[in-house]
Amino acid sequence: MQDLLDTLEKVNQLALTQDEKASVQAYFERVAQDLPSFAEVDTQNVTPMVYVMPLSNVLREDESSQPFTRDDLQKGAPEAEDGYWEVPRLIE
């Protein structure tokens, strides 16, 4: 369980405090306890449900339009300048 939590913390780019870790772990353990009951259900011939609506081919034609301006979209940005969004420096 600890390994799983560590991995999830890492891939989600989170930094949890010890208290938070303890509470997440307790929650996960509770979920894990309930999991075996799912295994009792026979799912042999059941396709996993991904889509809520029975729809396919929801498509659009290849036409371009620009109904929003850059300024509209950057109104809520914490940092934006010269048409760019700005974020803390990242080097991979």
């Binding site: 891939v11 929801v58 034609e61 290849d62 371009s64 339009s65 940092e79 760019y84 974020v87």
Partner: protein, 478 residues
């Protein structure tokens, strides 16, 4: 001990669409930063992605050109990663049911012919562009490229030298450009390549430790990177210079070296899951057949046909099939005038010159081929002089479709009126006794001067052979 290198490629190709894959923003390259953005491709909450139909068309086309099986039900998945080049913190791509699987590309190198197997082709969105500002110590984000449609073409590890990789990439590029799937411009990033490479003992069926070099964008750099990585792997195995680990590496073409980027520890942990917001795409027979019917003749088959049926030489035929646009114009013009060699010359010399002047590439040739054919026929029938025909070609470039009408309007129709030619010749000869004397004294150049004056006076509208004969006759009399 002998070693061999095993290479598989992931090639990303931006699709030739007007709009992005999941929203209507323009997919055009080269706009000001963040001009082509909307709430959907900016990852604003609550936005619904809607698939661009043309992306599926082009995905299918790519698969058919590469001999793939087309999955008739194809779905999209989320690939999660945190990086600001994709603002939703995931990329919408295809993992579980990609549009194409199990294809084949045939290549030829100095070692002979080979088939490279294609594992799959999937449709996905491109990521945005990050500009790191050292001075202010921050990163600037441009989402124009975010959600521009791509196909990723994944090969099996069937390649075993830089030469084969180059042959494969050139073949891929030629096929995709021919089918108008993409303009495949390395320099604009519309074609780029991840190289997966490992080294093993020759003849072994076990693969060695694999490293990946991402986002390579020139054939020369790819060749150098493969040679460097191969040597590094062999050195590590033979001389134990380092321990090879599965990792992503960055190729620095200036330094001629690769550097570790990220290690296995976090690699591949993308927690893929089906995207419930993008409905499955189901390709019925009508759709499938419609795309099948649009496939072009393969370039090498076209080339052979041009040589065998139309009598073109190897050079002309090869040059034409470099560009689908050249072929389209060539075929239209040929159908109009039936003069294959002349049409090839006009396209490869005169049209190419005009494209060059306008800083356009061969693929951007978009003239009315029938108009070019008519023009070539006018020249062949000696109704319009070649020099004047070039002016008419320039008008055809601007969209004109009736060269004969232009020739009439501009007074470019060659005169068969020998009386007029005789009159002009007599005037020019009488007005320039010096040139006449020079010519008679043995100066060939003086004749050309007189000939040029007559031609100018006649505005190019006469048969050069007739003019030559009449001029010689007049000089003799003088």
């Amino acid at each position: 001990m002998e070693y061999e290198v095993v290479i598989g490629l992931e090639v990303h190709v931006e699709l030739a669409t007007n709009s992005k894959i999941f929203c209507s923003c323009s997919a055009k390259y080269g706009a000001e930063q963040n001009e082509h953005v909307c709430p959907a491709c900016c990852g604003m909450p609550g936005m619904l992605p809607i698939v661009n139909k043309k992306v599926v068309d082009l995905g299918m086309t790519a698969g058919m050109m590469l001999n793939c099986h087309i999955n008739r039900t194809t779905t999209f998945d989320k690939k999660n990663y945190y990086y600001p080049d994709l603002p939703g913190a995931y990329q919408t791509t295809q993992l579980f049911a990609p549009i194409c699987v199990n294809g084949r590309v045939d290549i030829e190198t100095s070692k002979g012919k080979k088939s490279v197997r294609i594992k799959q082709i999937h449709m996905e969105e491109d990521a945005g562009k990050l500009v790191h500002d050292d001075w202010r110590d921050l990163t600037m984000v441009d989402y124009n490229r975010t959600s521009v449609p791509l196909v990723e073409i994944v090969s099996q590890p069937d390649l075993s030298s830089a030469e084969e990789v180059v042959a494969y990439l050139e073949r891929l590029r030629s096929l995709l450009r021919f089918a108008k799937v993409s303009d495949c411009r390395w320099e604009q990033g519309s074609m780029r390549c991840d190289v997966n490479l490992s080294v093993r003992e020759k003849g072994s069926d076990k693969l060695g430790v694999r490293t990946e070099m991402k986002n390579m964008n020139s054939l020369a750099a790819i060749t150098r990177a493969i040679e460097y990585e191969t040597a590094r792997h062999i050195d590590a195995i033979v001389n134990k210079t380092e321990e090879l680990v599965q990792e992503t590496r960055r190729w620095d073409d200036e330094k001629g070296k690769s550097f570790a980027m990220r290690t296995k520890e976090t690699a591949g942990d993308y927690r893929y899951f089906p995207d419930p917001n993008v409905m499955p795409v189901v390709i019925d027979d009508v759709w499938y057949d419609r795309i099948k019917a649009t496939l072009p003749e393969f370039p090498e088959i076209k080339k052979q046909r041009y040589m065998e049926e139309l009598g073109l030489g190897d050079f002309d035929a090869s040059s034409l099939v470099e560009s689908r646009a050249f072929c389209d114009v060539f075929e239209e013009a040929y159908a109009e005038c039936g003069l294959a060699k002349d049409v090839a010359n006009w396209i490869l010399k005169d049209c190419a010159n005009l494209l060059n002047k306008k800083q356009m590439t061969a693929d951007m040739l978009a003239i009315d081929g029938r108009a070019l054919g008519k023009l070539i026929k006018l020249v062949a029938d000696e109704k319009v002089g070649r020099a004047n025909a070039k002016f008419i070609l320039a008008e055809i470039f601007e969209g004109a479709t009736d060269p004969e009408k232009i020739a009439e309007e501009k007074g470019f129709i060659v005169s068969n009126d020998t009386g007029l030619i005789e009159k002009v010749v007599a005037e020019i000869v009488a007005a320039d006794p010096k040139s006449v004397a020079d010519y008679k004294g043995g100066k060939e150049k003086a004749f050309m001067a007189l000939f040029g004056k007559c031609m100018r006076e006649l505005r190019g509208n006469c048969n050069p052979q007739v003019l030559r004969e009449l001029l010689l006759k007049e000089i003799e009399k003088a």
